[in-house]
């Protein structure tokens, strides 16, 4: 693999032009006059977490527009996408054990679940609900109770370091491409599972309210006191939101389960200040801005972006103020160095990513391409990946004017290269563009796909969308979707490095003679 890669690199160096004077200017601005930490700090600490449609997300849209305008970017605006749902925010949450002894317990609410409207006190009861039929046995038994939804989970010892950076061997491994297995053809089974899960969640929410349960507790996804928590209830107006629901530190949650198993009567006081900030569903908003191109290619588009929305337990730092700060800083750098791109460079700060790439998918559908919406409401209720084919892709005006999209959403760690998403024709180009950044650790172009964030919205419709290879630091051990997703876990030097590389990549994409090559679109 390495030989092949070096071969591609050799070809690239010979053929793909790199403007080293511009790269120098970009590096100078990025490394010596950086503002990336100012942006990152404002988003994480002055604004804080940015749950989609929360007031803080609105502040972030406004503040980033302000920065874009200050820097002289064009077409700065928020673009709505339909019907995301309601906003939600919380200000405090406390759980105290009152008996058999006093003990403060560490827990945070799931997003889109109600507050307690003042402190409530009740006895703990363990329930096991895996299917609709499991609800029946609890009829008439839940009034005034605080429910434990999960079993205890044994502590998992930390036998690897929390923080990880790729070494040479690790980067070499990334060059291996795993030939995919046959896709799961059993769509019917997956649809059934998905639908049943949705129905069970809805029915359970209604049941707990009807039965008068006070609150529910689940176990945090990680150990060591870290609270890893996403959403519950429902963001959609009119849907049942259930009772207050919290995720509790594993060490505390397990203790409650063991006490119940010992038949001890455990009484808790729960106080969650949380509220839905809207009565009705609201659109979500992406923030966009441009450096317009000039000349014959000005109508063509190079995009860069990152999602600005976050979960609510930390301050959305590695996920994804890091990506937003890097993409904004890349735009600032390009303005600061006086870049005059041929193609238009457009930055997008997405919303609704955490709920399924909603903002970016809507944007791509509006501006570039989409599959027809299904007519069947049951199909419409499914996520895009489970729907039956609705016919050929419907392309919009700018589909053919689009060159490439570059995304960042794998934490705050240093760029070590880029995933080519099986677009082999793009690889020698990326190799050439990376060469001036080998000295800061970015060396690797891998054929691999990487998923699960906004570049997929582009990739799905056959447009070149890419994400960089990053050192993961403690993203998957401490930070991802947890209360530790905060300022301190980021590395300023890594964010500076990433901003320089993004600025250079989008500049070169905007200047090269041809748009980025596309891979064949896989679809029926």
């Amino acid at each position: 693999m390495l030989v092949l890669c070096l071969g591609l690199s050799g070809i690239a160096a010979a053929q793909e032009p790199v403007d080293l004077d511009m790269v120098s200017r970009i590096r100078q601005e990025a490394f010596h006059r950086s503002q990336v930490m100012d942006i990152f700090s404002h988003l994480t600490e002055s604004i804080g977490p940015r749950l989609t449609n929360s007031p803080q997300m609105g502040q972030a849209n406004a503040w980033t527009r302000g920065k874009f305008n200050d820097w002289g970017l064009a077409n700065v605006h928020d673009e709505a996408f339909d019907d995301f749902g309601r906003g939600w925010e919380f200000s405090s949450a406390s759980v105290e054990m009152l008996s058999p002894r006093t003990l403060p317990l560490h827990a945070l609410p799931k997003a889109w679940t109600p507050g307690t409207d003042g402190p409530v006190e009740g006895e703990v009861m363990a329930v096991s609900i895996k299917k609709l039929a499991d609800l029946e046995q609890y009829k008439g038994k839940l009034a005034g109770k605080i429910l434990l939804l999960n079993e205890a989970r044994p502590y998992k010892r930390g036998v690897e370091a929390d923080s990880h950076r790729h070494d040479e061997a690790g980067l070499a491994e990334l060059q291996a491409f795993a030939v995919p297995r046959d896709a799961d053809k059993d769509r019917a089974r997956r649809i059934k599972q998905y639908t049943e899960r949705q129905e069970l969640a809805r029915a359970t929410n209604e049941f707990f309210v009807a039965e008068g349960a006070l609150a529910t507790l689940g176990i945090s996804g990680w150990d060591n006191g870290i609270i890893r928590v996403t959403g519950g209830g429902s963001r959609k107006a009119g849907e049942p939101v259930g009772v207050p629901e919290l995720a509790m530190a594993a060490e505390h949650y397990n203790q409650l389960v063991r006490a119940v198993e010992r038949k001890q009567a455990v009484k808790l006081r729960v106080n969650v200040k949380a509220r839905f900030t809207d009565e009705a569903d609201q659109p979500g908003y992406n923030t966009l801005a441009e450096i317009p191109g000039s000349g014959s290619k000005a109508g063509e588009i190079v995009m860069l972006g990152a999602h600005m929305d976050s979960w609510h337990a930390g301050t959305g730092a590695a996920d994804n103020a890091a990506g937003v700060a890097v993409m904004m800083e890349a735009m600032r750098i390009l303005k600061a160095v006086g870049a005059k791109p041929r193609r238009t460079i457009r930055v997008a700060l997405w919303s609704g990513e955490e709920q399924g790439l909603i903002g970016s998918q809507a944007y791509v559908a509006t501006h570039f391409a989409a599959h027809p919406e299904p007519a069947d409401p049951r199909q419409k209720a499914l996520p895009a990946s489970l729907r039956e084919s609705t016919g050929a892709l419907q392309k919009k005006r700018d589909y053919d004017r689009f060159s490439a999209y570059f995304n960042m959403d794998n934490g705050s760690g240093r760029f070590r290269g880029i995933h080519a998403q099986e677009n082999l024709a793009a690889m020698p180009i990326f190799q050439a563009w990376l060469e001036p950044f080998h000295d800061v650790g970015a060396t690797t172009v891998a054929t691999r796909n990487t998923g699960s964030t906004d570049h997929v919205s582009f990739d799905r419709v056959g447009l070149p969308g890419f994400q960089f290879i990053q050192d993961r630091l403690d993203y998957s051990s401490n930070v991802h979707h947890s209360d530790l997703d905060t300022w301190d876990h980021a590395e300023p030097e890594d964010l500076k490095q990433a901003a320089a590389i993004v600025a250079s990549f989008v500049y070169h994409a905007a200047m090269r003679e041809e748009k980025l090559p596309r891979k064949p679109l896989l679809e029926g």
Copy 2:
């Protein structure tokens, strides 16, 4: 080193008798009918943390006496030591940021600091107090303020695994003994430092109260949201306890410091429910029990023990319900297997360890030996290690009847051997006693000293006091003195193994012809 060690082991095997029938019975009872986790669970989860002189420590004294009586041990009693101070307990603590935005902050109170008597609200102010003269500048400026006592601390990446077990190479390294440097002769400087620190703490506590500060916040000793916190204020009646003082998760604390540095006005609400449980100083209590010896050596004593007191943030699990459970289980095993020891086997569950080995030191002074108390009150105010020599050791009746003391207080990890505390004559004996436990990982006898817990109270007066070599697991990364010192971080199999080894060691110490050899007493 390894050759030397194997040599000693060879000699030992030839000379030191090991009762393998008894070892088999001990192993059967320890491994197949263990109660160690029941004991550990009751201490950590039914009783909870056991700060010295807190009501929970009193419950632990009573419950362990009950167990000892149930098992048919003799002379079960609590033995008081003078004038420890007051008890203290807390039931809840919350800190919320009210502006510039709302944010729940994670913090726990220092022991022996007052509660807030309901929620208090105030603006945050950073102070820097390193010496008495630093107080002056804050005169008239602290009223209604919540003070940040520390600077921000950069995040320290976890580049090693949280959990550690010794491998063969690590055990071999323990065989190396570091010849000690000359002791620090500059006692005067150390006394001055100690005295100044004490004076500063007292003056600062008084100053904050007089100036009307609402509360103080410090940074937790560890990152990753772990709250590592010990004591503040004062446990002594009549001494200034200061204002409410909390240790805050580093990620939250640093955020406050940065906001203050940005000149943002930060307002917090603090609510700590904590109280001193006594008006006047109270004695502390160790719990003791015996299996009486019989025959001519019945007046001689073999001891085992562990401190039962803990800090308050977790449930005192690895530090040191683990040690207590293992020592209690060892006594239960010896009764269960029908051991009839020649020497009396006495177990001690110490208190006041966390405040300076106070319980064990008082016990040793009463029963075995002590240096004369200094007449000078300034000398008396110093910890034992800083005092001038007060003359020759004064030995009590049982000094010459004492054989050995075995302690456990290095977390809940598996025994891998024992520290011989430079008592070379004890090493072949320990090698022989360890041989039947090589198959469960306990192989190593090291000449090394280990310190900082109750065996030191014996060692200091020339009595053989030992601690085992343990796998440290996540003791020094997550657990020690933190809110994660809880049930889940212990390994049941490791505690069973430790109990078997302790039972066998004390049994053989009680049965052998001679008492354990002593090393020469180092003193002037």
